[in-house]
C-alpha cells in the first residue's frame, strides 16, 4: 500500500465530518468536540476505502482473490492463497 493512502484518508475523513455536520447537525444541538471526534473517527473507515481506490495494491489483491474458488471442498483457504501468491511471485521472476 502506498504511504500516501492513510494520509489521504485522514484528509477525506475531515471533509466527510464537515459534510456530516453540514447535512445532519441540528441548529439547537451543535456537535460537541467529543461528538465531532467520534464522527471523525468513524468517517476514517470509509475515507480509507475512498483513498484505497487511488492505490494499486487493493486492486491487485482483488484480482488475486478473484482467481480463487474458496468453495472447493478439499482445498484449504490458506493453502489456496499461498499457492496464488507463489504463482504471482514466480511470474514476476
Amino acid at each position: 500500500m502506498l504511504k500516501r493512502t492513510p494520509l489521504l484518508a485522514f484528509i477525506i475523513a475531515g471533509l466527510m465530518t464537515l459534510l456530516i455536520a453540514l447535512l445532519f447537525q441540528e441548529e439547537d444541538r451543535s456537535f460537541t468536540t467529543g461528538q465531532t471526534v467520534i464522527f471523525y473517527f468513524f468517517s476514517f473507515f470509509p475515507s480509507m476505502g475512498i483513498a484505497m481506490l487511488f492505490d494499486p495494491f487493493p486492486n491487485k489483491i482483488k484480482e488475486m482473490y478473484l482467481k480463487i474458488n474458496f468453495y472447493i471442498q478439499e482445498e484449504n483457504p490458506e493453502d489456496q492463497v499461498a499457492k496464488v501468491l507463489k504463482e504471482e511471485l514466480e511470474g514476476k521472476n
Partner: protein, 165 residues
C-alpha cells in the same frame, strides 16, 4: 460484508418504530435482538458447513434466496407481526449488503440459479482469518462497511442516544 452487518442491523433497529407502526421502540433490546438475528440469519449457513452438515458450496445459496427470506419473515410475522416487519427489512438488507461480493447471490432460487452481484470486491470465503484479512484489503469493503457505521452514528445523533445525548 462482515463487520458491517452489525452496523446495518443496529441501523434497522433504530428504525423499528417506523417499521412496526410504533409497536417497537427504536434501539430497544427487542428491536436489536430481532434485527441482529434476522440480519445474521442468512450467514447461519456457515455454521451448518462448519458442523459438516453441508459442503462448502452450500454457502450463499438457499440462505440467500429471496423466497427463503420471505418465508422466514412470514414465520416470524405469525409469531409477532412487529417482529416480522423488522425481520423482512433485516434479511433483505442482508442480501443487498452481500451483493457487492463477487460470489453473487442466487436471489431467485429455486426458480433460477443465476447469481447476481455488483462485483465491487472479491469473495474471500465464508469463515476464517484468510476471509477476514482478504475482505479488508479491498477498497469497497472499507467504503460500504465503514459507511454503515457512519450512518449508525448519525442515527444515534438523531435519536439522542449516547454518546450523542
Amino acid at each position: 460484508m462482515q463487520l458491517g452487518h452489525v452496523a446495518v442491523a443496529l441501523t434497522i433497529a433504530s428504525f423499528a418504530p417506523e417499521l412496526t407502526g410504533g409497536q417497537v421502540e427504536a434501539l430497544s433490546l427487542e428491536s436489536i435482538l430481532v434485527a441482529l438475528f434476522a440480519h445474521e440469519f442468512p450467514n447461519f449457513d456457515g455454521l451448518v458447513i462448519m458442523a459438516k452438515l453441508a459442503p462448502k458450496k452450500f454457502h450463499c445459496t438457499w440462505s440467500h434466496s429471496l423466497i427463503v427470506g420471505f418465508l422466514a419473515g412470514l414465520i416470524t410475522w405469525f409469531i409477532n407481526p412487529a417482529w416480522g416487519y423488522i425481520f423482512w427489512a433485516s434479511i433483505f438488507l442482508h442480501y443487498l449488503a452481500d451483493m457487492p461480493s463477487s460470489v453473487g447471490l442466487p436471489l431467485f432460487m429455486p426458480f433460477s440459479y443465476k447469481r447476481y452481484t455488483f462485483n465491487l470486491w472479491a469473495d474471500t470465503g465464508y469463515f476464517g482469518w484468510v476471509s477476514f484479512v482478504g475482505t479488508y484489503q479491498q477498497a469497497w469493503t472499507w467504503i460500504l462497511e465503514g459507511g454503515a457505521y457512519v450512518v449508525l452514528m448519525i442515527r444515534l445523533y438523531q435519536l439522542k442516544i449516547w454518546p450523542f445525548v
